[in-house]
């Protein structure tokens, strides 16, 4: 036995396949198996062309209508899995990826491995690497049950590289029945005005934590510096928990993993929860008033001082240079 067919839960935003999906396809090419995708969303032809370029040969497409796309994708995989018998189904550790994975896990009665950072296949067994205790230890876990094996990988674990393939063949699935799981309806979508790059795609990230003192300082110090450096802004769990900024900005174990060229941590002590999400950055600058803060154990440049004094001076100096 070996792994001969790998399925990938394909996600797209605004007709563009997400970078985490392309990372999954790229990594799955190494397994030497047939690569097929399942996609619940709009613009199937364009998605199939992009995914095909990275190595996907077939794209099963379903229109989610106003239902949750992750649930619809999960139900579609469920309806197809019997006939097509994928050995592995890969998901990104995203909002919709988790919805699809959860539904499938229960309906197929299969365990899941999530937060994967690496993927290896040995015969018909699948091994997934994850990080625990703030990334200080790495654990390999092998799924020993029956296929299909269900795995979710954290975005940014692999580097996406096109393979020069043609468009994937689109196979329309038609309507799928998700039962009561499909009853949740999207009534409305609200997009906040996005200025600057996305957190996961930014080359420069400025993040803030509890040391900022209050919510207003996040805006005037973290957001302002990020804008001047044409970067994205992020946050530690502490200030997300306090309701200063939304969950989408959280960097860390229970948030996003980021690997920018430059990460500037302002008023972040560096709980293990946070370090696991950012210590893969190329360069790390930390500004914190506690000289013993764990953030300094991973920083290339550490300034021990009050961020409410250091950062305004820094902003003035940067503004003077970038105009």
């Amino acid at each position: 036995m070996s792994i001969s067919k790998v399925w990938i839960h394909v996600e797209a935003a605004g007709a563009k396949v997400t970078s985490s999906t392309l990372e999954l396809i790229t990594e799955a090419r190494k397994l030497g198996a047939t690569l097929e995708g399942v996609y619940a969303g709009a613009d199937a032809a364009s998605v199939a062309a992009q995914a095909g370029e990275y190595g996907l040969s077939k794209l099963f497409h379903v229109d989610p209508g106003d239902a949750l796309p992750g649930i619809v994708a999960g139900a579609a995989i469920l309806s197809l899995a019997g006939e097509h018998a994928p050995d592995v189904v890969l998901f990104s550790q995203t909002y919709d990826g988790r919805d699809a994975l959860s539904l499938l896990s229960v309906r197929l009665d299969r365990p899941v491995l999530t937060n994967g950072l690496s993927l290896a296949v040995d015969g018909d067994a699948v091994t997934v690497g994850t990080a625990i205790f703030g990334g200080s230890q790495l654990v390999d876990t092998k799924l020993t049950g029956q296929a299909p094996h269900l795995v979710a990988i954290r975005p940014k674990s692999f580097t996406a590289e096109p393979a020069g393939g043609g468009a994937a063949e689109v196979v329309e699935v038609g309507e799928v029945d998700a039962g009561r799981s499909g009853e949740a309806k999207v009534l409305d979508r609200f997009a906040e005005e996005q200025t600057g790059p996305k957190l996961e795609e930014a080359e420069i990230i400025v993040s803030g934590g509890r040391g900022l003192g209050d919510k207003d300082n996040y805006k005037t110090l973290v957001e302002e510096l990020a804008k001047l450096l044409k970067g994205a802004f992020g946050a530690s769990r502490a200030i997300v928990d306090s309701g200063w900024v939304p969950y989408a900005l959280q960097v860390g174990q229970t948030g996003k993993t980021v690997k920018p060229k430059l990460y500037i941590a302002i008023g972040i002590s560096g709980a293990t929860q946070h370090l696991v999400g950012m210590k893969g950055s190329d360069n790390i600058i930390a500004i914190n008033k506690d000289a013993e803060a764990p953030i300094f154990s991973v920083s290339d440049l550490g300034i021990v001082g009050d961020c409410k004094k250091v950062v305004p001076a820094l902003i003035d100096a940067v503004r003077a240079r970038v105009g």
Binding site: Y95, L143, S181, G182, L187, R189
Partner: protein
Amino acid sequence: MNVVVCVKQIPDPAVPGELDPDNTLKREGKLILDESDSYGVEMALQLVEAAGGGEVILVSMVPNGEVSGLRTALAMGAARAVLASDPALAGSDALGTAKVLAKSIERAGDVDLVLTATESSDGYTGTVPGQIAATLGWPALTFAKKVETLDGKVKIQRQTETGYDTVEASLPAVVSVTAGVVEPRYPSFKGIMAAKNKPVDAVTIADLGLTADQVGWAGARQEITNVEAAPAREAGEKFEDDGTGFEKVVTYLENLKVL
């Protein structure tokens, strides 16, 4: 309206974690209420109050009868708890956990809504809310940053990468809430005293109609093949700010060609 909140009792995250010889997380010290779950407890208390009646019921599972974290949530105002406690639960994965919690929710009585965190702070698999919903056959509305119930329906604002979606489903349903969604109350002295006498219905997996091969290590159908230390990142230079600390940063940015 009766609302169940799934809560997890975890080792204090401030204390460095350790593994037991069987590679499960060491849990022998005092367990505390996972802070992520305090938001669900607060949200449930507010929803029940807004609905003009009903109960907040806690559901939790442990291998060893531990209740200290549950008492914290009872002190906040939850009425009672169902605690699945069985040595066979050690090593349970996300799906095994969802099976146990779903059965415990059924045991809790007439339930309109189940609230959970988006993931636990220690295991952080992130699939348990959806797995509970699928096990019960209820809709899952995940990553809520706002929750309202009205006329047998639940409406949430669902966190997205760029903002939020408004999502609605009829009850009963499972909703996972993000942290920061509400400000969790501190237990009052009166609440702490009252919590000591609130009922905790401790049940074994057999009481829930489950067998040992469905939960714990046996049910997880996975094995840990390797644990090793991650390559450490070397610490760089560190300077005490004397009013010119920002200049060090500017120089660093210039060397990186960011400026």
